[in-house]
């Protein structure tokens, strides 16, 4: 990997990633790669996660295509210097901010949505003019292998590299010096990444997991809420960073919600989800064991609970009578299990949420705007969605990222471009108008200080005038 890093640095020095045409050609090639190999992607994701074609196309391929198209359509604008408001002192000068590539970026993708979690940051890094070393997760091995095979056939082989490897390889990789590290995954590995980055003062973006709360209010169409929650929770067999992890609701809502969920799940996956082509599998035996153990030690199974270890299958499961101390309420589940914990009010839900780490996403279902507003104001999370879930993480026009323990930094759309750029401030002065500048030079006198203070107060009061200039 040291070799690939030097190769990337040399490619960077050549300057070709600085050109708009080059970046556009790479983004267009990426698009072609997705279009021309759709079947192969569907196949790889089916092998890795038993992901249905529908989910692969919608929640993986289209997401990346949207990002690439958005970048292609806006790159020219993003690459232009941004002129800023000048102070009185600089009113005859040019003040602007240019976006520069950071250099060589390391992107470490996660396994739950292995295509989009690798390629969406790649789009941003390429658009911003960086070289990239991409490390897909070895857990979704078929997709990793596919990316390793396809990317060199479409993208510049000097600038962009895909590498493979497991956790021990990650340790070695993190010893090398990058200009930015983008990591999606678990909190523990996020800390490992940041520790390594601290040693070389490398900026990082960490999109970490956590437990996304979902509050269902009494004032709510529970049937519709159930549909939206079930879709989010059980797609990809529950292996999602952004799905609601658990529900908080009043006891009376719980009863209605369970009924509605049962009916939903029947509609979605039929009486035997195991036979449904729309339902996935857990990615490996380790995760299966983890989810199974959580399920068996928490609350009571209200819906589902069937398992098949050989197939890594766990039925869409809803747990009730869940306590705060249950394992399912203490750890990330990462599987098709939805615990419901009862609370007596929205405020109790808020108190519970505030006692825990800030989540990546927070969901509220209510027809009462005041409840939604109250929940939003009294909590913090990476993102927030009312009366639905997951969608806010799929939009090109909203930043996606965590806060606190759920991560730092964000991406998607222009935010990706900004994350992978350095915003360099530039002031171009002329040397001819020295008489004004004289005021700042020693020897310092009362008179020059008063003039400077006056000029400063003038520029504050007449900000608009300066901006026109």
């Amino acid at each position: 990997c040291t070799e690939l890093l030097s190769k990337s640095r040399e490619a960077l020095t050549s300057g070709r990633t600085l050109r708009e045409e080059f970046r556009l050609s790479q983004l267009e090639a990426l698009l072609r790669m997705l279009v021309e190999n759709e079947d192969e992607f569907v196949d790889a994701l089916h092998k890795d996660l038993h992901k249905p074609r529908f989910e692969t196309v919608l929640s993986e391929l289209i997401l990346v295509k949207n990002e690439a198209l958005f970048a292609i359509n806006n790159l020219k604008k993003w690459m232009e210097p941004e002129h800023v408001a000048r102070s009185l002192v600089t009113s005859l000068d040019e003040c602007f901010v240019v976006s520069e590539p950071l250099g060589v970026v390391l992107i470490i993708g996660s396994w739950s949505s292995p295509v989009q979690l690798n390629l969406v940051p790649l789009v941003g890094a390429v658009a911003a003019g960086n070289c990239v070393i991409l490390k897909p997760s070895e857990i979704s091995s078929h997709t990793a292998e596919l990316l390793q095979r396809l990317i060199p056939s479409y993208l510049d082989t000097e600038c962009y590299h895909v590498i493979s490897g497991g956790p021990s390889d990650l340790t070695d990789l993190l010893e090398l010096k990058f200009d930015h590290i983008f990591y999606t995954g678990s909190r523990a590995t996020g800390q490992q990444v940041m520790q390594a980055a601290a040693r070389s003062l490398t900026p990082v973006t960490l999109v970490l997991g956590g437990r996304n709360p979902c509050y269902v209010d009494r004032e709510c169409d529970v049937a519709i809420a159930a549909q939206r929650i079930a879709w989010a929770r059980f797609h990809n067999a529950g292996q999602s960073d952004v799905a609601p992890d658990f529900v908080l609701c009043h006891t009376e809502v719980q009863a209605r919600l369970v009924l509605a969920l049962r009916s939903c799940l029947l509609q979605f996956y039929g009486p035997e989800p195991r036979h449904s082509t729309s339902f996935g599998r857990l990615v490996n035996a380790e995760l299966f064991t983890h989810v199974r153990d959580l399920l068996l030690a928490s609350g009571k199974v209200a819906i589902g609970g069937q398992m098949d270890e050989a197939e890594k299958y766990i039925a869409p499961t809803v747990l009730t009578e869940v306590l705060e101390t249950d394992p399912a309420m203490q750890q990330e589940i990462r599987g098709p299990v939805l615990p419901i914990m009862t609370v007596s009010s929205a405020d109790e839900a808020i108190n519970y949420i505030r006692r825990k780490e800030k989540p990546l996403c927070l969901y509220v279902f209510s027809s009462d705007r005041k409840v939604i507003s109250h929940m939003m104001t009294c909590t913090s999370s990476g993102s927030f969605c009312s009366n639905d879930s997951v969608l806010q993480s799929m939009m090109v026009l909203l930043p996606f990222g965590g806060v606190g323990a759920s991560g730092m930094g964000s991406y998607h759309g222009r935010c990706s471009f900004n994350t992978f750029s350095h915003k360099k401030s530039c002031v171009l002065r002329n040397t001819r108008v020295e008489c004004v500048t004289y005021l700042r030079y020693p020897p310092y006198e009362d008179r020059s200080l008063s003039l400077m203070m006056w000029a400063n107060s003038l520029s504050r009061r007449s900000q608009a005038w300066c901006e026109i200039l």
């Binding site: 249905p52 529908f54 196309v57 919608l58 295509k65 949207n66 800023v84 000048r86 102070s87 002192v89 600089t90 003040c95 901010v97 520069e100 996020g190 940041m194 520790q195 601290a198 040693r199 003062l201 960490l206 709510c220 809420a225 939206r228 879709w231 449904s276 729309s278 279902f365 913090s380 999370s381 993102s383 927030f384 969605c385 009312s386 969608l391 806010q392 799929m394 939009m395 909203l398 806060v403 606190g404 730092m408 930094g409 350095h422 915003k423 360099k424 401030s425 530039c426 002031v427 171009l428 002065r429 040397t431 030079y441 020693p442 020897p443 009362d446 020059s448 400077m452 203070m453 400063n456």
Partner: protein, 497 residues
């Protein structure tokens, strides 16, 4: 419980009350800061005089004026900065509210530096307050008089629980760094920067590191050297060279080195007279340790100007070194003192190569009349900021982000950038429970027909440029048609009569 832990707990408790959320509270705190600066200018100047031998003019000039601008800007723009920012709608979200809501992060730790000890604590504090955070303030113990003054003054003006001041040395700072913060803002050197970021890992706390480095200054040979030298001299020797964005060294062709030295000599006379030691406008090194550090860098070098020193007074004369070899000690570390090496390069290409072989600096300066050369410098090198034909100035332009890249730092601040750096930009999607029909396409069981419809909604933008213009054109055409019909009707009616 340690004093540091207590202070952090106090700040967190205060933050959790929610009183920093309303804009009136934040504005009150900012106005109080403004009052503090105005009412206490004399005491602030006295503390800075004792720490850095600043005189009464330098305090407002170097520290206070920019702070007042920042406060005024924050007061004026607070409603705008804190308002939700709507995001463009798509077909999918046409009936929803989609916006980004800036929110406070929580408790911010601000660790100041000693070279501009007042400004480097208050400036990030303004951003922290504006963004609705609590803040624990740790001034640098090296500038001890200012540190003690801040500990005395701040609680008299701003909420003492929300913004506690913690003083102390290395052990106290380490104890602070063990506590949980929601952002750590550090100004100082790279070695400590690494420790700060390393400590932040435990709680996964984001950091802003304003570090230093060696800021190069390239002088093109076709230049009015009198103006150039004046601007460089000012930037270099202000605060006795102890400025993170001071031009650290000069790159120029051998043929002009002599004239550059003359230009600087002439300017130094203008600024500080014959003997800078007696000038009230010339500063001192902060302490003996830094005095010795800088004096050691002079060993073996050719002194073209200055070189005099007085350890008892921590005085080092404004010094220029000639023909400095790139591998010499003075070229290996940030000087942070009144010593300016001149390194000769054969051309601008060589200068660019020289700069790119080294760590990315906090600032880069280029003096030239040639716009193409300036453009090349900007696009072929990287640095926190660039100024053509002056030094230091970008610090004072509030609309420009101020910060480093690579080893010179992470993140930026000033003006709106301070607010954004210390806020969380929360993405919000507000939907209703109605219009479930549209959602049905995404639910299993999944079929090809559903996929086609879902793809359409996911991919369609609402107001793409083309669609907008087409719609406007159609509307305009309809309007014209309607007007023509009306006109025709009126004419016909008129002719009938």
């Amino acid at each position: 419980m340690s004093m540091e832990k207590q202070a952090v707990e106090r700040a967190r408790t205060a933050f959790l009350t929610g009183r920093a959320r309303p804009l009136e509270f934040r504005a009150r705190q900012l106005k109080a800061l403004q009052r503090m600066i105005t009412e206490q200018e004399h005491d602030i100047a006295a503390a800075l005089k004792r720490d850095l031998n600043r005189n009464e003019f330098q305090t407002p000039l170097f520290e206070l004026v920019s702070l007042e601008s920042e406060i005024q800007l924050a007061l004026e723009k607070l409603p705008e900065w804190t308002a939700p920012r709507p995001a463009e709608k798509t077909l999918l979200t046409i009936s929803d509210e989609v916006y980004i809501q800036p929110e406070p992060l929580g408790v911010v730790l601000i660790i100041g530096a000693w070279n501009y000890p007042f400004a480097l604590v208050i400036q990030p504090l303004i951003g922290a307050i504006a963004a609705g955070n609590a803040a624990v303030i740790k001034p640098s113990e090296v500038s001890e008089h200012t540190a003690r003054l801040l500990e005395d003054l701040l609680p008299q003006y701003i909420d003492r629980d929300m913004y506690p001041v913690v003083n102390g040395g290395v052990p106290e700072t380490q104890e602070l760094l063990q506590q949980r913060f929601d952002h750590v803002f550090y100004t100082g050197n790279g070695a400590v920067g690494k420790l700060v970021m390393g400590a932040a890992v435990h709680h996964l706390t984001p950091v802003t590191l304003e570090l230093g480095g060696k800021s190069p200054c390239y002088i093109d040979k076709d230049c009015d050297l009198s103006v150039v030298c004046r601007r460089i001299t000012w930037g270099k020797f202000v605060n006795c060279g102890q400025t993170c964005i001071a031009p650290d060294y000069v790159l120029c062709e051998q043929s002009i080195q002599g004239r550059v030295v003359e230009g600087i000599r002439h300017t130094l006379l203008e600024f500080y007279g014959d003997d800078p030691k007696t000038s009230p406008d010339y500063g001192r090194m902060i302490n003996k340790r830094h005095f010795k550090r800088v004096m050691d860098l002079l060993e073996g070098e050719t002194v073209a100007l200055g070189g005099e020193s007085d350890e008892a007074d921590c005085y080092i004369a404004p010094t220029v070194l000639l023909d400095v070899p790139p591998h010499s000690r003075v070229m290996q570390e940030e000087i942070f003192g009144p010593v300016l090496p001149l390194v000769s390069v054969g051309s601008v290409d060589e200068a660019i190569r020289f700069i790119n072989q080294r760590e990315k600096p906090l600032a880069l300066y280029v003096f030239s009349y040639d716009k193409k050369l300036i453009k090349r410098m900007i696009s072929e090198t990287s640095s926190g900021g660039v100024i053509a034909n002056d030094t230091l100035l970008h610090y004072s332009v509030g609309s420009l982000p101020f910060g480093g890249v690579g080893k010179s730092g992470i993140g930026s601040y000033h003006g709106k950038h301070s607010f954004e750096r210390m806020s969380h930009q929360r993405a919000c999607l507000i939907r209703s429970l109605s219009r479930e029909g549209m959602n049905k396409v995404r639910y299993p069981p999944q079929e090809a027909s559903k996929l086609r419809v879902a793809k359409y909604f996911m991919q369609k933008r609402l107001w793409t440029g083309g669609l907008c213009w087409v719609t406007l054109a159609v509307l305009a055409a309809l309007l014209v048609l309607a007007l023509l019909i009306t006109l025709l009707a009126l004419i016909l009616k008129g002719s009938e009569q």
